[in-house]
């Protein structure tokens, strides 16, 4: 059970996505999930062990680390990736529901001429129109909301996207203001900026896909779409 499961679920949705959606999915898995698993986790691996404070007071390091890093960057990115991928499940469920209805009809013998067998129904590609258009567009909308929320949470929690080398801490039980040193700050800054940049690109792709869907529909049936 790992990112492969998510990839399997989302891979199924890929068939019914637009081209922009397919590009988004590729970027998600190559530039976000893979970078997170292969590189970023190593950089943040021993973040608390190597977080050093200039004091011998027991407990000061723990408290200062907790104060400056309420949630680790790695965990926040993992949650962001999970939440951002989840709206695609709405589309997967809608497609599964339509397939189920078609299989029921096929078994009753209503539309025998349309499909030769059940395997064809399983591999059929649904076009994004009608109710599926609404589900797909809502999923893109939720994706955008989640991306924006997580970017804001990041910015708010860490006061920007830079990892400082030194933080000054005076939380109890530290006896006075104590210098604490973050491990690998430059490498962490590089990865943070990279992940934020890719997040931004994904937001742009989602916005483009959203506009593309709206324009496509309004050009086809300007008035009669909703009926």
């Amino acid at each position: 059970m790992d990112w492969g499961t998510l990839q399997a679920i989302l891979g199924g949705v890929n068939k019914h996505s637009t081209s922009i959606g397919k590009i988004w999915l590729t970027i998600m898995f190559i530039f976000r999930v893979m970078i997170l698993v292969v590189a970023a986790e190593e950089v943040w691996g021993d973040e608390q062990n190597d977080f050093v404070c200039n004091t011998l007071q027991p407990g000061c390091k723990n408290v200062c680390y907790d104060h400056f890093f309420p949630i680790s960057h790695i965990r926040l990115w993992a949650l962001q990736l999970i939440f951002v991928s989840t709206p695609a499940l709405l589309v997967a469920m809608h497609v599964a529901y339509r397939r189920h209805e078609k299989k029921k009809q096929f078994r009753k013998g209503g539309q025998t001429c349309e499909f030769k067998d059940i395997e064809e129904i399983k591999s059929q590609r649904f076009h994004i129109q009608g109710p599926l258009w609404w589900t797909y567009t809502s999923s893109i909308f939720f994706r955008l909301i989640f991306e924006a929320l997580f970017m804001y949470a990041f910015y708010f929690m860490y006061n920007g996207f830079r990892m400082p080398r030194l933080v000054k801490c005076n939380a109890w039980p530290c006896p006075n203001t104590v210098d604490c040193f973050v491990s690998r700050p430059t490498e962490k800054t590089v990865f943070t900026i990279f992940m934020i940049a890719v997040s931004g690109i994904c937001i742009l792709l989602n916005v483009a896909e959203f506009c593309y869907l709206l324009i496509k529909v309004f050009l086809k049936k300007p008035v009669f779409f909703f009926f």
């Binding site: 723990n62 680390y65 907790d66 680790s72 965990r75 993992a78």
Partner: protein
Amino acid sequence: MSWGFLRDILSGVNKYSTGIGRIWLAIVFVFRLLVYVVAAEHVWKDEQKEFECNIRQPGCENICFDHFFPISQIRLWALQLIMVSTPSLLVVLHVAYRESREKRHKMKLYKTPGSMDGGLLCTYLISLIFKTGFEIGFLVLFYKLYGGFNVPRLVKCDMRPCPNTVDCYISKPTEKKVFLYFVVVTSCLCIVLNVSELSYLIFKYTIKCYLERYNKKVQTMKSECQKLKYVDPAETASTALFHSNASPVLDRKKFILY
């Protein structure tokens, strides 16, 4: 043997579930199992090593950690995931039993072995009740063991061999608190889904039963009407002559039934 094993077993349950059951399964896979494996496990990785007490007395830290964390939150979470997923296997076992019965008797005993009726419906309802019971049980256990869902930064410990009351500091308390709240929210969501699925199934099958009984009644009444319509009029007249003191009630009945 890992979480992938549980995932493979549960994927089989998907076929025999209702729509709400499938949503429940998706939530368990994505928001509970996946979050556990990719994020939460790492937060609790070095929890004892990073648990620090303001004392040099050997053994004090060990005793205090054991006192405050009789069972680690992450292990309790893992147990919860396993126990909550397992009742769904009852349904899979029942369907397998039905299929083996059909094979043994070499004839079609059921509409399809996976159709939700009779015994399989009871099994499904029982599995829902167990799932909900386990969810509530684990939430109560979490609450009782850790005094709420809060993870404090500092705990005061005075167990032997600590010489007096000692300050001990828990590592990453905020991050652990966030994930605990996550556990609670997803648990509650799953409880709500289970209860709605239970109510929906009970309601649906009660209405179905009622309608079937009502239709049966209507059918029997219709067939009685049909029978009475085709009684020979000559025959009725002769019986009336023969039974000159035919009861007025019987005559009245004849006219009413037409």
